[in-house]
């Protein structure tokens, strides 16, 4: 296959995301603009400009009319997707590390960083599709403890919020009642990514402890584990084939201290059920920071520390792959 290279950023990528139809691709990096692309040909539709600091996260609602970004300038911003007009700014005491629309688009969760004496928190705000005016009053503020939250996602039916923590643990919140339902130690290192399966009943986490794992949402029971030989920055699940894709690599600061042979900057494909590695795809010349699967499963995109986004559309061979058992 021939990947499409997108050079819209000057700094390492932090998150990329497809919209629900898979025709748009949103990318954010540690520079101050968010980019919007057509996923089929890599054409840049526009940029969302206004943030003053590194962008950490982006999401859009189901009809792709609203886009929310979170950044290190301690704000989250709401944008009109089609025109790039800024509609609203939420202000926080610290940086916003993750935003995500709920499945019904009525709420958005925002995870903030722990810094300058402020504790990390998960805010849930209402989002009104009909007007640009948005409420600055969170419905709920969850205070993760003992360790700060790095990732969070909505469960099925928006019933729970699952949070991944810096110490590798997971928490299941019944967010409407601000209650902790369950806590589990999932990883030995920071949780670097947490992506839900499309129906929200299970999810994949990746961690600096060189593994990615699959968990059931309701019970936080570990289901599967995928082992890599380097820290995993991101993991995603393919919707059509039973595969998961892991991205990672040695951090730039560690490269000089180890053998120069390989940086391990490949996306690794594992069988979802049998946990075996089935293939690798090279391309990036820095660690992969973020992976996103096209919702129809016909392609995926990866964003690296090298500032590039690579959009892959799978060859017919990929769809013929069968695992014998």
């Amino acid at each position: 296959m021939r990947p499409i290279l997108l050079q819209g950023h000057t700094r390492p990528l932090t998150q990329i995301k497809y919209n629900s139809d898979g025709d748009l691709l949103m990318t954010v990096a540690k520079d101050t603009v968010a980019n919007l692309w057509y996923s089929h040909n890599g054409e840049r539709v526009g940029t969302y400009e206004g943030h003053q600091g590194a962008l950490w996260t982006i999401d859009c609602n189901k009809p792709s009319t609203l886009v929310i970004t979170g950044a290190a300038d301690n704000t989250a911003r709401l944008w009109h997707a089609e025109t790039g007009r800024q509609l609203h700014v939420w202000e926080f005491p610290t940086a916003v590390k993750r935003v995500e629309f709920s499945h019904d688009d009525r709420y958005v969760l925002m995870v903030t960083e722990e810094r300058m004496g402020h504790k990390s928190a998960i805010y849930v705000f209402p989002v009104d599709n009909s007007t640009p005016e948005q409420s600055n009053e969170p419905i709920v503020v969850l205070r993760p403890s003992p360790s700060k939250a790095t990732m969070a996602a909505w469960s099925y039916l928006d019933k729970y919020i699952v949070a991944g923590h810096d110490d590798g643990s997971l928490t299941l919140y019944d967010w409407k009642y601000e209650e902790v339902v369950r806590q589990a130690q999932a990883h030995d290192g920071t949780i670097t990514d947490l992506q839900m399966w499309k129906d929200g009943t299970y999810f994949i986490t990746s961690s600096k402890d060189k593994t990615a794992r699959l968990f059931e949402t309701n019970t936080l029971n570990p289901l599967k584990m995928y082992k890599a030989d380097t820290g995993v920055n991101t993991a995603t699940m393919t919707p059509t084939q039973d595969l998961v894709i892991l991205g990672g690599g040695q951090a730039a600061s560690e490269v000089t201290t180890t053998s120069s042979r390989q940086g391990k900057f490949e996306s690794r494909f594992y069988h979802k059920v049998f946990e075996d590695e089935v293939g690798r795809l090279k391309g990036h010349f820095g660690p992969i920071n973020t992976l996103a699967m096209q919702p129809d499963g016909k392609g995926f995109a990866s964003g690296g520390e090298d500032g590039y986004v690579r959009v892959h559309h799978f060859d017919p061979d990929y769809f013929k792959f069968k695992y014998d058992y």
Binding site: Q7, Y38, E277, D315
Partner: protein
């Protein structure tokens, strides 16, 4: 201001206008001229064929395809901009059940190679020809005072060589090259070759390119114990070249394999199986 020749002036300022030629097969040839970084004129000829691919998308997606560009792209022409969007090199994603095992084997092989290299480096140390010290001959501190050792020893060994040549060869010992068949233990190697040849071997041809060692082993295992299975792999592509050799311990199992497998369908191809050596052992 320096006066320039009128001929140069014309050359520098006027680039021929781009040409578009429609070819009979429906493609177009685009000829463009531009100046490169060194100020030299470059002619680029591109042949373009447009292929219309129809895709059915839902209404919302079709609406979004008409969005006007905004932000940094405001007013830009439709279509990907080369400054932000380029097409990468072709990369191959080969998914295989045994990918992890293969990777492991490759890593182990590489580690072994590296070990051998370091061992070799250790054993070949620097030796001075003059004083047998551990430095280069040119750097020998006794360079001017000592006569090269070889001149003395070489002369004496030449004298010795006259009566018995075999003696001289023995003298040279580890330093000189001994062909493999004359080395100690060479017999054992030979006998191993013979034994391999003794095994009844069949040749399987018309294999698909995705075939691997294990596939062939699995295919032939049912006929009897296998001494050796070899699948020819192309070194460049890592794909099967289309043929394989399988040695059985037992003559009967080889015969049975030929009888059963010749004409057998395997991975969408019809196999051709025969004796490896035309005699048919």
């Amino acid at each position: 201001m320096a006066k320039t020749s009128w001929a140069d002036e014309v050359d520098e300022n006027e680039l021929p206008s781009p040409e578009v030629i429609s070819n009979p097969d429906g493609s177009r040839t685009l000829i463009e001229y531009r100046l490169n970084e060194d100020g030299k004129k470059v002619k680029s000829t591109r042949r373009i064929k447009n292929k219309v691919v129809q895709e059915h998308v839902n209404r919302a997606v079709a609406e979004r395809k008409k969005w006007a560009k905004f932000g940094a792209e405001r007013g830009a022409a439709p279509g990907p901009n080369i400054s932000t969007t380029t097409v990468g090199e072709v990369i191959l994603l080969r998914l295989s059940q045994y990918a992890a095992q293969q990777k492991q084997q490759e890593i182990e092989a590489q580690q072994q190679k590296e070990q051998e290299k370091t061992l070799a480096a250790k054993s070949s140390r620097i030796l001075c020809r003059n004083c047998r010290g551990e430095h280069f001959t040119a750097r020998c501190p006794y360079k001017d005072t000592l006569v090269p050792l070889e001149e003395i020893t070489g002369a004496s060994s030449a004298a010795n060589a006259e009566p018995g040549t075999s003696q001289a060869e023995g003298d040279k010992g580890a330093n000189s090259y001994v062909p493999p068949h004359m080395r100690a233990g060479a017999k054992a190697v030979d006998s191993m070759h013979e034994r391999r040849d003794e095994n009844p071997t069949i040749r399987i041809t018309n294999l698909s390119e995705n075939t691997q060692d294990d596939d062939v082993k699995q295919l032939c295992r049912s006929f009897g114990p296998i001494a050796r299975a070899y699948v020819a792999i192309d070194r460049m592509t890592q794909l099967c070249k289309g043929f394989a050799f399988v040695s059985f311990y037992d003559h009967d199992s080889a015969t049975e394999a030929i009888a059963k497998l010749n004409g057998h369908g395997f991975d969408h191809l019809i196999l051709n199986v025969e004796w490896a050596n035309s005699g048919g052992k």
